[in-house]
């Protein structure tokens, strides 16, 4: 119809033209901003990789942690940053002072079993007893120092606290950040 633009014409006319001749829709200002963002993004991505290699996101040097009980009877090596669904090992080293009658009793808070997902304990405990707030494991202990390992596989992302204790002695508490 004369005097009435079609939709296609209106759209074409709204597209910026180069040299007032070719409807390209070029937006060089936006493009320059994007190029700047692109450069910054690549730097960020490189930093993410470096952080990952160092263990900021788990499974590396910065993720490793070690804590000892106040009386020095046992220490715990664990990863302060873990990844959901990824196996890791928490190792408890116990000294002579922690044993009683050639046995070691170790209390692990519920969080070690539930949220941090203890899959296996090495060596196998002689017995495990339900106690308020966690489980009490009993291991035979013939020599010291000895090691007990918990194979973990956390299921839920978040910050989780745990506690390990040798009854009658001091305890070790720690926090683990589980990433998705």
């Amino acid at each position: 119809m004369p005097g009435k633009d079609t939709v296609a014409e209106r759209i074409t006319d709204s597209i910026p033209r180069v040299d007032n001749a070719v409807a390209v829709g070029e937006d060089l200002d936006f493009q320059r901003q994007w190029w700047r963002f692109e450069k910054a993004a690549w730097v960020m991505l490189a930093l993410v990789l470096i952080a990952d290699a160092l263990g900021v996101f788990g499974r590396g040097w910065l993720a490793r942690a070690e804590r000892s009980s106040a009386d020095g009877n046992f220490s715990v090596r664990y990863e302060r940053v873990e990844r959901a669904g990824t196996p890791s090992v928490m190792t408890i080293t116990v000294n002579e002072g922690a044993q009683q009658n050639r046995q070691l009793q170790l209390f692990a808070s519920e969080s070690v079993v539930e949220v941090l997902g203890a899959q296996r304990i090495i060596p196998q405990p002689e017995s495990s007893t339900l106690t308020p707030g966690g489980l009490l494991y009993t291991f035979p202990m013939t020599s010291a120092p000895a090691e007990v390992s918990f194979e973990l596989e956390p299921s839920f992302p978040g910050v989780h606290t745990f506690e390990l204790r040798v009854p009658g002695a001091s305890s070790v508490q720690g926090k683990v950040l589980v990433l998705p």
Binding site: V24, Q31, E38
Partner: protein
């Protein structure tokens, strides 16, 4: 539920990575880029599915990615600025005998790429080109001088 969250994260991480990799002149995937697409795809699949490799989980993930893609496509068309962010904007790389050096450099284009695109249109040399435009889909459009007249 974790699968759905991982699928959403995976979709946007993939979108950003592919966007950052810049447009490929000619818009055709080389063998080298096929490796990239399959490898990145495989990595995202592993994280999306996790330990649940059931058909139910896979079906839900596929439906979600499909829906997500539809929503993003709609939003891209609805808000041109978002479309520009996702696809970029066309850029003129050659204008009336002058190379647009900044664009050529940033888009990692070589004059040979423009000449190759020109040959596909039967144009013999630079002298016959009026404008060359790198489109949003990575294709290079050539406007010849003959067409302008």
């Amino acid at each position: 539920m974790p699968t759905l969250i991982h699928a959403i994260l995976g979709y946007f991480v993939l979108l950003l990575t592919i966007r950052l990799l810049s447009r490929r002149p000619g818009s055709q995937l080389t063998l080298f880029e096929f490796v990239l697409v399959f490898l990145i795809g495989g990595i995202i699949i592993a994280s999306t599915m996790g330990n649940d490799r059931s058909v139910t989980n896979a079906t839900c993930a596929v439906i979600l990615v499909g829906l997500l893609h539809r929503v993003v496509s709609y939003a891209r068309n609805r808000w041109p600025r978002l479309g520009q962010l996702i696809d970029g904007s066309p850029v003129v790389v050659y204008k009336k005998g002058v190379w647009q050096d900044e664009v050529m450099q940033q888009m990692k284009l070589a004059p040979e790429d423009i000449l190759a695109a020109a040959r596909t249109k039967g144009i013999r040399g630079l002298g016959d080109i009026d404008y060359a435009v790198l489109e949003r889909n990575g294709q290079i459009s050539i406007l010849s001088r003959a067409e302008s007249k």
